[in-house]
């Protein structure tokens, strides 16, 4: 009886094993982005921009040309690439510290310009690489090493809903928030990421997919509980929805 492969590792990822913590959903999101690029047969026309955070070494994992940008500046780097090579696919892969804190200006203005790039925005409500500090997306009451008593709104601000914010910009063509916390949602994530890259390929403007993600190590709970934590605590604050779809508007 010959066996037919139903699921195998995508050619969009290199052979390099990732450095991510056990159960961290960065790995899932990488795989989904890589599968989409492979299935669209654009791997050879794609240039990815790695940001700074846990995913800083993502340029070793995606099997396409990659460049490493300064913390928060990936959308600007991507803009520079896309303006020189308008027929290539350009994406950035950024965490919430990189995009929502230091890099929010670059993200907003890339969207405001309708820059034809795709941003993969991974939101796990914490700074992972540097040991678990509060991020702009940290939830109220969520304990981090810089909100030890739990984030408290008066002095530490309130969670930032980036997708809703950026969706108000006319230059944004497709903005959706998805999640990585279970298999059905991973399938939806893939559909959303594919849609974003297809819209970029049609040159219709700025696309961003925000993916709710986990951080077992800095949340201090195990990998399976982390998925549960996303569902129970993050989704109520960060609803999963399509916030902008230019194609519907037309």
């Amino acid at each position: 009886m010959t066996m037919k492969p139903v699921f195998k590792k995508t050619k969009g990822l290199t052979e390099k094993a990732t450095h991510y913590c056990p159960g961290c959903t960065h790995g899932i999101i990488h795989r989904v982005v890589a599968e989409v690029l492979e299935e669209m047969d654009v791997l050879e026309d794609t240039i990815g921009v790695a940001s700074v955070g846990c995913s800083v070494m993502t340029y070793e994992y995606f099997n396409c040309d990659m460049t490493q940008s300064a913390h928060g500046r990936a959308p600007a780097v991507a803009t520079g690439i896309k303006r020189v090579l308008p027929d290539r696919i350009v994406f950035t892969y950024q965490g919430d510290g990189d995009l929502a804190a230091i890099g929010i200006s670059e993200a907003i203005h890339a969207a405001a310009r309708g820059e034809n790039i795709t941003i993969i925005f991974v939101n796990n409500a914490i700074y992972g690489m540097t040991g678990g500090q509060m991020a702009p997306t940290t939830l109220i009451g969520q304990k981090t090493i810089t909100s030890p008593e739990g984030r408290e709104s008066v002095s530490q601000g309130l969670p930032m809903r980036v997708s809703e914010m950026i969706a108000t910009l006319d230059g944004a063509a497709y903005i959706e928030r998805v999640s990585s916390h279970d298999v059905p949602h991973i399938a939806k994530m893939k559909k959303a990421i594919k849609k974003a890259f297809e819209i970029q390929k049609k040159g219709l403007g700025f696309t961003m997919i925000e993916v709710l993600s986990t951080c077992p190590t800095n949340w201090g709970i195990d990998a399976i509980e982390s998925l549960e934590w996303v569902k129970e605590n993050m989704i109520p604050v960060y609803p999963l929805k399509v916030f902008k779809n230019l194609e519907e508007v037309k």
Binding site: T67, S69, S105
Partner: protein, 354 residues
């Protein structure tokens, strides 16, 4: 090509276009606005791309992206904006990406003012950002020299895979002078196999990064960069000498101040004082030769700058104690007159013999 009467900022922009620059990411800041304005009109005419960024930080990172594709790319700014670009320039140097950056410097520190100054010298010649690196720094003194140097700036950037700085000041940026561009057309640039343009048809994925978490790896990278900087120092120093053969005193000045110093020298020569000028054209790598061959003959050097005294330190390094080095400078956008420099020369040389 015919002579054109043009404003400095526009000469810089046109010279860049003639040198094959097709991508420019800028941001408004006085006194370099005309450069950005000119590029906005000109680049589309030559099939290039002009983009006004939301900040100097975004602009230098756009340059990083465009440089990564192998294109000839430029940005320009003025002192406060140049400070904002330091991290980006450190990344350009670390990732070994060619680009040309202009700083039309102005009074500082802080918001300072919009008049000309040379008080960014240290920032320009000591890398400016974090980590061990230098930038080749070209300091033109006339608009014709801007036109002549721009091709070299882009060639040096490509040849050594490094960002290059054009350091001028508000005087050069705002003044008008006749300029003749060479009609040398930049031929097809050699393909940069390290560029991230997509892997279709050219082998495996390429990676542009300045990160190396393996300490041995980063040290090796640093030593490769060190070799590069030594190579640039060996091959790319440029300077000009003016009447130093018989000089008893030598002024040291660059950019617009060098021209004022020449007028002061003419006055002093008339009054019988043997004084000359050393004019560095590259501020990094700084010329040593003209000092080595004069430091045992002259009675003293005087560095003349629109700053509180920065290049004077490089003069002292080059003179290495062989002769006294003094300084005269004006700040805050005040441009020294040739008469006041002449007075200083007289003072330095112990007065004019009746």
């Amino acid at each position: 090509m015919a002579k054109l009467l043009m404003k400095g900022n526009e000469v810089i922009a046109e010279a860049a276009v003639k040198a094959g620059c097709r991508y420019f990411f800028g941001y408004p800041i006085t006194p370099q606005n005309e450069l950005v304005t000119y590029m906005a009109k000109r680049l589309p005419e030559v099939g290039g791309v002009f983009l006004q960024a939301e900040s100097e930080i975004a602009a230098i990172n756009m340059v990083y992206g465009a440089a990564g594709t192998g294109a000839r790319v430029m940005t320009s700014t003025s002192s406060p904006g140049y400070s904002l670009k330091q991290e980006g320039i450190s990344y350009l140097s670390g990732a070994e990406l060619p680009a040309v950056i202009c700083n039309i410097s102005r009074g500082g520190p802080g918001l300072g003012n919009i008049q000309p100054a040379q008080s960014d010298y240290f920032q320009a010649t000591r890398g400016g950002g974090h980590g061990d690196y230098y930038l080749p720094v070209f300091a033109p003194a006339s608009l014709q020299e801007v036109a002549d140097l721009m091709g070299d700036a882009f060639d040096v950037a490509d040849k050594y895979r490094t960002p290059v700085l054009i350091l001028a000041d508000g005087v050069l940026g705002q003044m008008m002078e006749p300029v003749e561009f060479s009609d040398k057309v930049v031929e097809e640039l050699p393909k940069k196999d390290w560029a991230t343009t997509g892997t279709r048809g050219d082998g495996g994925p390429k990676i542009i990064t300045s990160l190396d978490l393996d300490i041995g790896g980063l040290e090796a990278h640093n030593s490769r960069l060190k070799d590069k900087f030594e190579n640039i120092t060996k091959n790319e120093i440029r300077y000009e000498e003016y009447e130093i053969e018989d000089a008893e005193y030598i002024l040291v000045a660059y950019g617009s101040v060098a021209r004022i110093a020449m007028s002061a020298i003419k006055l002093a020569r008339k009054a019988g004082i043997k004084v000359g000028l050393i004019r560095p054209i590259t501020l990094w790598p700084y010329p040593q030769e003209p000092f080595i061959k004069t430091r045992d003959k002259v009675k003293g050097y005087m560095s003349v700058e629109m700053s509180a005294g920065q290049m004077v330190e490089d003069v002292r390094l080059a003179v290495n104690g062989h002769a006294p080095v003094s300084f005269y400078g004006r700040n805050g956008g005040v441009i020294p007159t040739h008469e006041e420099i002449y007075e200083k020369i007289v003072q330095l040389s112990g007065g004019v013999k009746a």
